[in-house]
């Protein structure tokens, strides 16, 4: 029923609230978290989360660290980074840490939704591949 289910992580509450409302109007389910630990906890509680939209600059635990944790604990979840300023170093680091893509704040909503859909598609692809591989293993084992 939803096109996608995402987790929106940003320490700026106003941003998160408004963004969530807008996304939901576009048929995207949004879970919210205002810091890294909350994000991890949400991911644990809601395995239906497909994509995380993650702010880079956050107090206490910054975005790159959270990204690494997510990729470690929930490897199939795709992460889109949101950055207040695009230093290339940030972007490169993000990609190396496993982010799917990055966007600059303030971003066009359409761009975000498009990227979310892409990420979801990619995730499904990976999942199907994973299942296939498993099946292959099993059948081989049996044979």
């Amino acid at each position: 029923m939803f096109d996608a289910t995402i987790l929106l992580v940003d320490d700026e509450m106003g941003f998160v609230e408004t963004m969530a409302k807008r996304l939901e109007k576009r048929n995207i389910q949004v879970f919210k978290a205002y810091d890294g630990d909350a994000a991890m906890s949400q991911l644990g509680k809601h395995p239906e989360i497909q994509v995380v939209v993650l702010d880079v600059k956050m107090p206490v635990k910054d975005g790159q660290t959270v990204l690494q944790e997510i990729k470690r604990d929930f490897p199939l979840v795709e992460v889109i980074m949101l950055t207040g300023h695009a230093t290339v170093e940030n972007a490169v680091e993000g990609i190396h840490n496993g982010a799917y893509d990055y966007l600059m704040k303030p971003c066009k909503l359409e761009e975000l939704t498009e990227k979310v859909r892409e990420a979801v598609a990619l995730k499904q692809e990976h999942e199907e591949k994973a299942v296939e591989d498993r099946m292959h293993d099993l059948t081989h084992r049996m044979a």
Binding site: E12, G14, F15, T18, M19, K21, R22, K25, K57, G84, H85, T87, V88, E89, A91, V92, I95, Y100, D101, Y102, M104, K105, P106, C107, L109, E114, K115, E118
Partner: protein, 561 residues
Amino acid sequence: MQIEEKTSYDKLSRNIVLTVLTVSLAPLILVGGLIFDQFSSIYREKVYAHLGEVVDKHRDNVDNFLEEKRSEVQYLGRIFSYDQLTDPVFLAETLRSMQQEYGRIFVDLGVVDQSGRQVAYSGPFDLLGADYSDAEWYKDSRNTDTGISDVFLGLRQAPHFIISCNFHSGGKEWTLRATIDFLAFSHLVENIRIGKTGYAYLINQRGAFQTKPPAHHDKQFSLTPVRTIQRPTAGEEVTIQETEGSDGETYITVSSSLRNVSWELVYHQNTSDAFSAMIRSELFTLVIFLLGGLGIAIMAVVLSRKLVAGFKLVDRETELMSKQMVETGKLAAIGELAAGIAHEINNPVAIMIEEAGWVSDLLEDETADMNSRQEIERALSQVRTQGRRCKDITHKLLSFARQTDSRVTDVALAPLIHEVAEISMQQARYAQVNFDFDLTESMPEVRASVSELQQVFLNLINNSIQAMEETNGGTLTLSCGIEGGQAVVTVADTGPGIAAANLSRIFDPFFTTKPVGKGSGLGLSICFGIIHQMGGEIDVESSVGIGTKFTIRLPFSLTEE
């Protein structure tokens, strides 16, 4: 501050000058004075010694002369008898013989009997029968065998002196006397000119001149001894004194007593004349010294001026450099501040845009009347547009901040381009753009700032991708290699291309073909600036409907660095 500065430099200058002068002049004066003094005393010694010797020798001459004459007269008296000599013809003959033999130094001859009467005479004067019993010379000659009289005018009324010899023969006592030619004798005495003012003469025991006194002095001229020069090595026969004349000048007076007669040979010379050579060389030395001193003083002043000027320069430069460093520090701080502000602003702006978007979303559901709705939509659109302007402004700020932190290193181009392409990979896929790589992995490195190069490549790649959105995708070709001794990077797309009219202005700041709010037009101008600062070139080729190609040329880093 300025005035303080000036005087402290002046003080420094003065100190340097004083030090140099003291250090160079003090030993100079010391040594110079020492040598001067030594020279002075040695020279004086020599002069005195010389004078003493000369006078001594001269006195000897005079002595010998007188002795000679005396013994000649005595000889006459010994070989001829009283009778012979009192014969006028014989006497005349004898005189002539003497004069022939010894020159006209003998003026006349005469025989005087024991009563003092001249009984025989041969000579130019009419003195036969003259009575000398009262004459000084005759009275003086009574006590000795031979005698030499003082110079006197006598009966002839002309200066002369007499050599007399007493004989005792034939039961008689008689005296043979001869007159010595005063002029010739004078010449002999005076013939001791040394220097310009040296003059010799004879004086008797009472100080009366026997020969002519110096011509340039009047009769009243007298010499007052000031001090006697001690000469331990000299004989006692010569006395050297420093005297002051009645004309106010100082003289050296050298005197020596004659042996045969109680006369004194006196030689005197102006001190300045005697020491003229020494005084000349002393003056010369002094002049040299003064000139040298002047030279040193001038050099000291010039040197110190130059030094101080040099110091001033160095101080100024140091001041300038530290000011520059402070400025750079300030700039870096401002850069950081700018980055911080940009960060801070982005969040509220993002929220504003989202809220506007949200209102816009809600509006979609409402069926408000036409006019208001359009107007609200327009207004919201404005909010979004202005928000994006804020974004662009903070971008500029951040790019400025980034520029103040551009460290130059050796950069390998191929991996860098890969990295940057990776970032845009997703966007490319979204725009249906394919990457095509032609990167020379093993090319030498260029000397540049990593962040700046990233900025440039990213800008070009994003521009290309954006352009190809219009053509529903295409191919983005990235290449790097060596060409003509330089590194060459190309970013080529198969986009719509750029119109020839716009091509020439493409690197101009604020030039953009994008509608308002969609790009500041700064990207390419910044790229241009960055590349040129690195010493490279960037240019563009484009054909409408075919594509665009940007070419960047960069110099390689110098190998030994």
